[in-house]
């Protein structure tokens, strides 16, 4: 192809000079002008930015973000708006099978493609594991695939198109393994074990206060309900994107749309086995995080591709990868058993919950903890028993997402409050008022609460949304 081009007589020689010089010169005017230079410095008042030490009133004011000028102008430089000279584009091959052993992986065709500058496999990563509590997630799978979004190989090429073609040319042979896709099934002794061993449970939490059995015995009625919530993808508008630049001085600079720069530096230094002092992470303006951009994802892979190729490497998730290869909100199954008096006072509440952690741990420990602590709801209850666990399944990893488990349990306990109110014939707001925490109440974990505003808040809200006039 390239030779053909060179052998061909160049156009410019063939062209008879029929047109006047002026016309010829003007023909390529559009090419000659540099790219449109946007007005980066407007002679305008800058947006309202609070000064250091200045006390600004916030409540009741229109909120103005300090970065809003650039947002509106389209000049905010998100990670994907950055291109370094000589930059390559990376793509990761996704397993596409949720539970399997890699029998053979052949990257020779990919390596031979013109434009491909580096190919990376998991075994080349110094420490091919990361995680915020249990370090169990490989950056690129070497042997056992645990969910369909697992990466198995990576490529850096001069264009995204070539990188994708190279990914398509990588051949992988899998031996399918049995998988487990339901968190309750994952609890069964005979279920396939995602990470080997004899259980899929990887964290448990128990919170006890008082004696629930006694509370149920004294209750007028006891309600037992199961609530389930699905997995939810953060779906930030900006897909995961990072640039890694491993320079000739042996220093690594990573530009990333990541919410936790320090954690990223630590993880990069660990996985790459280089001193943290050699790792610089530049956090770019995040185009939506919601908890999904709290930990590294492909950065060490990009770093090693950059090291191999000697050029900066950018990796950008497709929207599909965003769904299959990032993390999601934990799907949860929650069993609520609540005993109440005839008047609706809660005497005892027992909660059992199972969190579907997906293939790897990620932020499951934090999520289970927070969900357990908040599971009884904002209610003063003497007898509480919360028991939770999180299990591995062969699905997309569950991680941190706004609230870390709090919205799931809130859905469960508030749904049950409504069911109790309906059954007892008590106004649902009144039922809540009867049970709310008050100043000095003690939570299930023994915390004495102050500045408790929940009663006023609900009263206010009820007034504002017109509870009185409901039909």
């Amino acid at each position: 192809m390239a030779e053909d081009l060179l052998e061909r007589a160049p156009d410019v020689l063939e062209k008879p000079r029929a047109a006047p010089v002026e016309t010829l010169r003007r023909a390529d005017e559009g090419l000659r002008l540099p790219a449109v230079a946007p007005p980066t410095t407007l002679p305008l008042e800058p947006p309202l930015v609070p000064q250091v030490g200045e006390q600004t009133r916030a409540v009741g004011l229109r909120a103005q973000r300090p970065d809003s000028r650039y947002h509106g102008l389209g000049l905010t430089r998100y990670i994907d708006d950055i291109a370094l000279p000589g930059m390559l584009y990376a793509k990761i091959k996704r397993a596409g099978i949720s539970s399997a052993r890699i029998k053979r992986i052949d990257v020779s065709k990919a390596e031979a493609m013109p434009g491909v500058q580096a190919v990376l496999l998991g075994r080349e990563i110094p420490l091919n594991l990361f995680g915020t509590s249990i370090v169990d997630q490989p950056l690129l799978v070497d042997e056992i695939v645990r969910h369909a979004g697992d990466g198995v190989a990576a490529v850096a090429a001069v264009t995204e198109q070539i990188a994708q073609a190279a990914i398509d040319a990588i051949e992988v042979e899998y031996e399918p393994l049995p998988g487990v896709y339901d968190p309750l099934e994952a609890l069964q002794p005979d279920s396939p074990k995602v990470h080997g061993g004899d259980t899929n449970i990887y964290f448990k939490k128990l919170i006890r206060r008082g004696d629930v059995e006694k509370g149920f015995a004294q209750s007028y009625r006891v309600y037992e309900n199961r609530y389930t919530t699905p997995g939810i993808e953060h779906a930030p508008m900006e897909p995961f994107t990072s640039i890694a630049d491993w320079d000739a001085n042996g220093r690594l600079t990573v530009y990333a749309s990541i919410g936790r720069i320090t954690l990223a530096r630590v993880d990069l230094s660990k996985t790459l086995r280089i001193p943290i002092s050699r790792v610089r992470v530049i956090g770019t303006i995040v185009g939506g995080n919601f908890g999904g951009k709290n930990e590294i994802r492909h950065e060490p892979v990009l770093a090693l591709l950059s090291k191999k190729a000697g050029r900066p490497v950018k990796g950008r998730f497709t929207r599909v990868e965003e769904f299959i290869a990032s993390t999601i909100r934990h799907p949860m199954i929650m069993d609520y058993k609540t005993g109440v008096t005839k008047e609706g006072k809660i005497l005892a509440r027992q909660i059992r919950m199972v969190l579907d952690g997906g293939a790897y741990c990620s932020f499951s420990e934090t999520t289970l903890g927070k969900a357990s602590i908040l599971a009884p709801g904002p209610y003063a209850i003497e007898n509480i028993h919360v028991e939770g666990c999180v299990v591995y399944t062969n699905k997309t990893t569950s991680g941190s997402m706004r609230g870390f488990g709090a919205p799931q349990v809130c859905f469960a306990y508030e749904s049950q409050m409504d069911e109790i109110a309906r059954d007892l014939g008590i106004d649902p707001i009144e039922l809540r008022m009867k049970n709310f925490f008050r100043e000095g109440s003690m939570s299930a974990t023994g915390q004495v609460l102050h500045s408790v505003k929940v009663i006023e808040s609900l009263q206010n809200a009820a007034r504002k949304f017109g509870w009185e006039v409901r039909s």
Partner: protein, 295 residues
């Protein structure tokens, strides 16, 4: 996207010539909203050459002709929404066009592209099928006209042959101005494909359902008519009960599938409701002597 070649056609004749020249590897590109989105995620090899018809002016336009209402294949959904002629004679088609994707999709996407994707959920299909639309096809051996129902073969399969191009859609004169309405139910109001869509039309000047027509989308391999419901309605006095019953009958004529968007049972319920609403919508457009004025 994977590499492909590109040629732009000046007009429909040029497009057919290019298609014939490049053969099997060529693919028509109109608004690109379906084709390009598809290519980006497709594991299949790309076409060799895109024959871009988006500049072929003779494929555009909405006009009343001797044959009926002619809509060029390249007419965008926005042009249909904005057309006074459509608003006057075929508001149901504008009802369908205005719920396709979002503004950005409607500004690029064309009615011809919509029909040619031949997905069962296409929003332009039901109204056109209910009004017995004809389509004109241009190929290397000339023009031919077939009923729209014969264009649809299966999911993503039409009866277009080698190097053929969809040129225009014609609503026969007898149905121009026929009171009709379109209904769509998606998971959101904008930017959502239909779980079920439906169109219905009838002449109602005499207080009875005359020449009733019902078409359904997303409930069978292609957009379909509901002949039993039509036959049941024909000649009956117009009433809400009859509309509801027609909806129930129409549901028996469909074979919806269960997929990630909705279950088959849910779709059956939707058919009954949407057909009833479409009939009611058409009824609201009935005026006395309408049929005589039209022909």
């Amino acid at each position: 996207m994977k590499p492909f070649g590109y040629v732009a056609a000046k007009d429909s004749g040029h497009a057919v010539a290019l298609l014939a020249e490049y053969g099997k590897g060529a693919k028509v590109l109109a608004g690109g909203t379906d084709l390009l989105a598809d290519l980006k995620n497709s594991p299949h090899p790309p076409p060799d050459v895109m024959v871009d018809i988006s500049r072929a002016a003779d494929l555009k336009g909405i006009a009343l002709t001797d044959a009926g209402l002619r809509i060029g294949a390249l007419t965008t959904h926005t042009e249909i929404v904005d057309s006074p002629l459509i608003a006057d004679t075929l508001p149901a088609l504008a009802e369908a066009a205005v719920v396709i994707g979002a503004v950005q999709t409607r500004n690029l996407g064309t009615i011809g592209g919509n029909l040619m994707t031949c997905v069962p959920s296409m929003d332009s299909g039901p109204t056109l099928l209910a009004l017995d639309a004809q389509v004109t096809i241009l190929g290397p051996s000339g023009r031919r006209t077939i009923p729209l129902s014969e264009l649809f073969v299966g999911p993503r399969r039409t009866s277009l042959g080698f190097a053929e191009l969809l040129v225009e859609i014609v609503i026969p004169k007898k149905n121009v101005g026929k009171p009709s309405a379109f209904q769509k139910f998606g998971l959101r109001k904008g930017q959502a494909l239909a779980l079920v869509n439906a169109a219905a039309g009838f002449w109602g000047g005499d207080g009875v359902f005359a020449e009733p027509a019902i078409a359904l989308g997303a409930v069978a391999p292609t957009v379909i008519r509901a002949p039993k419901a039509e036959a049941w309605l024909a000649g009956r006095p117009i009433s809400e009960e009859a509309m509801a019953e027609a909806g129930r009958i129409a549901a028996t004529e469909a074979k919806p599938i269960t997929d990630f968007r909705a279950s088959a049972e849910y779709r059956l319920d939707l058919i009954a409701v949407l057909v009833k609403r479409a009939l009611a919508g058409a009824h609201a457009r009935v005026t006395p002597n309408q049929k005589d004025l039209a022909s």
